[in-house]
Symmetry: C2
């Protein structure tokens, strides 16, 4: 459960109100925040506490992650000159990442999942300068300057690959690529403008010999293409019943999901009923990782997630 | 093309920066703003210049529509007492609506399409108090207080029905129901929590003897259910190729769409190529209304839309 920490008082106490990217430079703290939901909820894997903007920030592009807003970019990506400001990532740029993972690998009894942003989603923040509802600037650059777009995507694929290599070498046993906002694209645009870079990332993941999860939201029309990019596991949000997702993807791919995080704000009997629907939709066979369809909402009560994990362990 | 006016200098000049809901109370002005894109672009139908929050505001719920933000609600809908504040709509609450339509019917040489908000989308604004990314409060009310939710939806269906009756009696020859954000729901939640009220609206539309268009965004997993609600035409955004949408819906339903509005920000050759893809995907038969998949983006150049309309007239 990504962002599960946000629901925890111990997280909010430890997190305070400071810069997220600054916090991520402290390996002991990152390890502690990564462990919190594992300890509290007893989930079957840990996901590295990180942010999709870490590589861009680490190479000096001028990015901050504001609590409650998300990434904010000082000088958004607008032209060819901006590509020079986005140099390739070197392991020396993020020494705290493998340090945090080495601490975690010693302390964890469950596998650690590495973390990277999908090229399209990172590009959208760099171009828009922050969150967007329309992705108008991103799509305009994509359509009007396809060569520049491809250069940007290749650079961001490189960032993700280097970042995941570092994480796997340090001990991550699977990786998840968060291309959260790729559902803004039509299938044809996804195939042309997003898939090639994502495929590069998943080819590198395959070379690392670990399974890769491909996550997005609002991807009802993109599931097959996200699988085609090379994932082992395709994230599915609540908009597609898992029985349909599995039928569409076939037995080669596992699915992850897909309880609506907003359901976890309802009374427990509703949560339980909806979680049972997810399990029933996934069917009795292997190949389903129970999860929420998106990050935990901050106002979620921790005891609901505790009961949810217990229910899934009992029924799964 | 909804919100086509936003791209026009003559609209911005006339519109100024004042309250949108206040403007809507002036029939001559509403008629003028409705006509502007018809005159400029030569589209085949006009859509009434309106807002989905008109009925809620007209019965005194305390709603404003802020330019650049959207609906803002003074005291959001949170409990049973709020249902009393949302009384049924009477024709006397919106006398300027039929007045504007009577002016328009005299001046227009193309049909006028009436305008209403879908119950789910209007409810989401009333409950959240404004735009939302997660619809957390809306979904919590839906799951935790289903009887109250049903009461709210029934009231909002009534608002839409009364509003559309007024518009058709005054001369609208088709109607469009904007349930823009219904794509936030899973198919199961849509069926249970949104479809019944939308069906009431479309049954009333059928009784009025005019065709009904059912519009939403991010509805790749909901198209069949939106058709089941009773529409004649189902809006499809750019996330689903029209060939797929038509195959899924069958010949009983027409489709409307589905050019990505962001494409219109690209150079003309890109717009032309993408528009031709939409036309090819729709196929040669009847049953396709060419449109954008969502509202016109304000930064769109009017000459691009002029050329787009000309292209569709030439090829369609």
């Amino acid at each position: 459960m990504r962002q599960a920490g946000r629901s925890l008082p111990e997280y909010r106490a430890r997190r305070g109100g400071g810069s997220i990217l600054e916090m991520l430079r402290h390996p002991e703290l990152v390890a502690e925040l990564t462990l919190q939901p594992v300890v509290r909820y007893g989930v079957d894997a840990a996901i590295l506490y990180s942010d999709i903007m870490v590589p861009a920030a680490a190479v000096g592009f001028g990015v901050e992650v504001s609590p409650g807003i998300g990434p904010v970019v000082d000088r958004p990506f607008r032209g060819a000159a901006d590509l020079d400001r986005l140099r390739p990532l070197q392991p020396d740029d993020v020494p705290w990442v493998p340090e945090a993972i080495r601490i975690l690998v010693k302390e964890l009894t469950v596998p650690l999942i590495g973390f990277a942003g999908g090229p399209f989603t990172v590009a959208s923040y760099l171009i828009e300068g922050g969150p967007s509802r329309t992705y108008a600037l991103t799509k305009t650059l994509m359509h009007a300057q396809p060569a520049l777009w491809n250069g940007l995507m290749e650079r961001l694929a490189g960032h993700a690959i280097t970042s995941l290599q570092i994480q796997v070498e340090a001990g991550a046993r699977a990786v998840q690529v968060f291309d959260s906002w790729v559902g803004a694209l039509s299938p044809a645009d996804y195939r042309r403008f997003a898939l090639p870079a994502s495929r590069q990332v998943f080819e590198a993941v395959a070379d690392l010999g670990v399974p890769g999860v491909h996550f997005g939201v609002g991807t009802a029309a993109l599931l097959e293409l996200m699988a085609e990019a090379g994932a082992d596991v395709v994230g599915v949000d609540w908009r597609v019943p898992l029985s349909q997702a599995r039928a569409r993807l076939g037995p080669r791919y596992a699915v992850q999901g897909n309880l609506d995080p907003a359901v976890c704000l309802a009374p427990w009997p509703v949560v339980e009923a909806e979680a049972r629907v997810v399990l029933a939709e996934a069917g009795p066979g292997p190949g389903h990782i129970f999860n929420l369809g998106h990050g935990v909402l901050p106002q979620t009560q921790p005891d609901v997630l505790e009961r949810l994990v217990a229910l899934v362990h009992q029924e799964g």
